[in-house]
Subunit: 323 residues, 2 copies
């Protein structure tokens, strides 16, 4: 995994992925006590950064692989990213999704042409199902984060952050990234190490699912006690990836952890002040930027709002925090 | 009023206004039966395109005018745009707002440094109050639409649409614009006439406040029966502007009219499919793009989502249409 793969992915994604803007609000700056810049990947195609990685991986396949098709497992955002990218390349896609994934994510994946196969998150192992089906049908498995071409695609988010921050005169900043398996974090870390070396990337996670923060602290990959039940469905991976963790370990000083209540308040503030819709798992980085002010250090903090595919009952719960 | 003023405004706004992206969703294309591109000015500073016009006008003032300060009347979005632009230029701003304006708009205007003076929309005339205070205190009145530098600022939205659509290979399209007094519509119409001559600009308005559609039909400025009570507070102007109407008359073939129910459904779809928050008055153009399919003609329709400053009770009403 290296910066050249990210540059190559950026070339393939040119004109395909959306260049999301860098947003801000004086009202959020006031809450945070510093300048906050938000990279709203909820505005990306399929409503999350995952389209970048899905398109990057599929556009790197050879003809034989394209003909056979692809398979992916995902709680929902990678599913939609792979489904749309596969449709754009006119190749079949099988997607393994947990039965308790948000209804909108399952419905969207199907509508984008993905053939969805459900599984029980508590009882079954999605990796095993993925490898089995991949072997049986000759499908190329596109892992959600432990795959160099996927990390490369997510890393293009970092290239844009470096360029857009520079245009605002910002070279030094802590960059907070919502972290599940670490594909987005490690991709952005590699991109910024090359193009904005004064920036420092930190992970952000919800309470009880802070495997990356604890892994960065101990230097070893540790596992969450629970693998389901949290509100931030998009980032409830059990442990950092095999490929992503060494990258994060060498580039990310530490991880931030936020509460579900802070996540809901952040979703409401993003609605009110930025006019964007973010899902719980996509709100943890901005939540840390707004509410962890004592442990943050830089005058400017950049937060990635990684996705916006939220069932509206949860969104309405978030809006209630404004009352 | 001419294209040179728009180009000059674009130069002053460079690095100040946000270049909002052009969004799309395969799910919206399916509803509309054609390609729909959305220009989300809800993502602009202060949550609406009005910042462009406010900044354009204030950045064109001379030193003496800056020292005395500015005054504006507005239902809320122009208020916030002028207040922020005035603060950025370090000059005082008095804003005349109707007492029944959405609470968030009044609160934001004050928080951005504007000195807010309330009035009764049914009983008092805001233009009279504006002229009186302007004369008494030597303040420069920045009208919300009948002011060339304001129209020029709003017109920069059109320059971006022309450039961004061209990058997607789109040169021919109907462009639907949410219309109150016509500042945004006439600015965009002038910009596109120069830079995307195959595009046609149409207004969009809510039922019972369709003064522009009826004025375009009759060739004369007509007045709405009521001046308050509608859901689309941002665009409830009584009649098209003196400066804006002749521009619209020569560039806009016709206007679209949508129902409040269509507006609420559109706000919900924008939330669900685009991950953006739009207010009722900012949703009428996209509502026309989605629901007036039989009277639209081009394969691609571009809709401006002009603002996102909505009280969350109305937003929650919109979300209920998804159930």
């Amino acid at each position: 995994m290296n910066i050249d793969l990210i540059h190559a992915a950026a070339a393939r994604l040119e004109g395909q992925s959306r260049k999301t803007p860098l947003l801000s609000s004086p009202f959020l700056d006031e809450i945070a006590g510093r300048q906050i810049l938000i990279k709203p990947e909820c505005l990306q195609h399929t409503g999350s950064f995952k389209y970048r990685g899905g398109y990057s991986a599929i556009s790197a396949l050879n003809k034989a692989q394209c003909k056979a098709g692809v398979i992916a497992y995902s709680s929902g955002n990678h599913a939609q990213g792979v489904a749309l990218a596969a449709r754009q390349h006119d190749i079949p896609a099988v997607i393994i999704m947990p039965n308790d994934a948000p209804a909108i994510k399952i419905a969207n994946t199907k509508a984008l042409g993905g053939r969805v196969i459900g599984y029980d998150r508590a009882r079954e192992n999605r990796e095993d199902i993925g490898v089995k089906l991949s072997n049986e049908h000759g499908l190329t498995l596109i892992k959600p984060y432990d795959e160099p071409q996927v990390i490369a695609g997510q890393g293009t988010t970092g290239l844009e952050i470096a360029e857009q921050a520079a245009m605002l005169g910002v070279s030094k900043a802590q960059v907070l990234v919502c972290c599940g398996g670490g594909g987005l974090t490690s991709g952005i870390a590699l991109a910024l190490a090359e193009h904005a070396p004064e920036m420092r990337v930190h992970t952000a996670e919800p309470e009880n699912f802070d495997d990356t923060a604890r892994s960065l602290l101990s230097g070893e990959r540790v596992v969450n006690a629970s693998s389901s039940g949290g509100m931030c469905d998009a980032i409830l991976t059990p442990t950092p990836g095999e490929i992503t963790f060494p990258i994060m370990k060498s580039h990310c000083p530490s991880g931030f952890v936020v509460s579900d209540e802070q996540v809901l308040m952040t979703m409401a503030l993003a609605y009110q002040r930025l006019k964007i819709v973010i899902e719980p798992g996509g709100a943890v980085a901005l939540a840390a930027a707004l509410f962890c002010k004592d442990t943050l250090e830089t005058d400017t903090v950049i937060a990635v709002a990684s996705g916006g595919n939220v069932d509206h009952k949860i969104f309405q719960r978030a809006l209630k925090t404004l009352n």
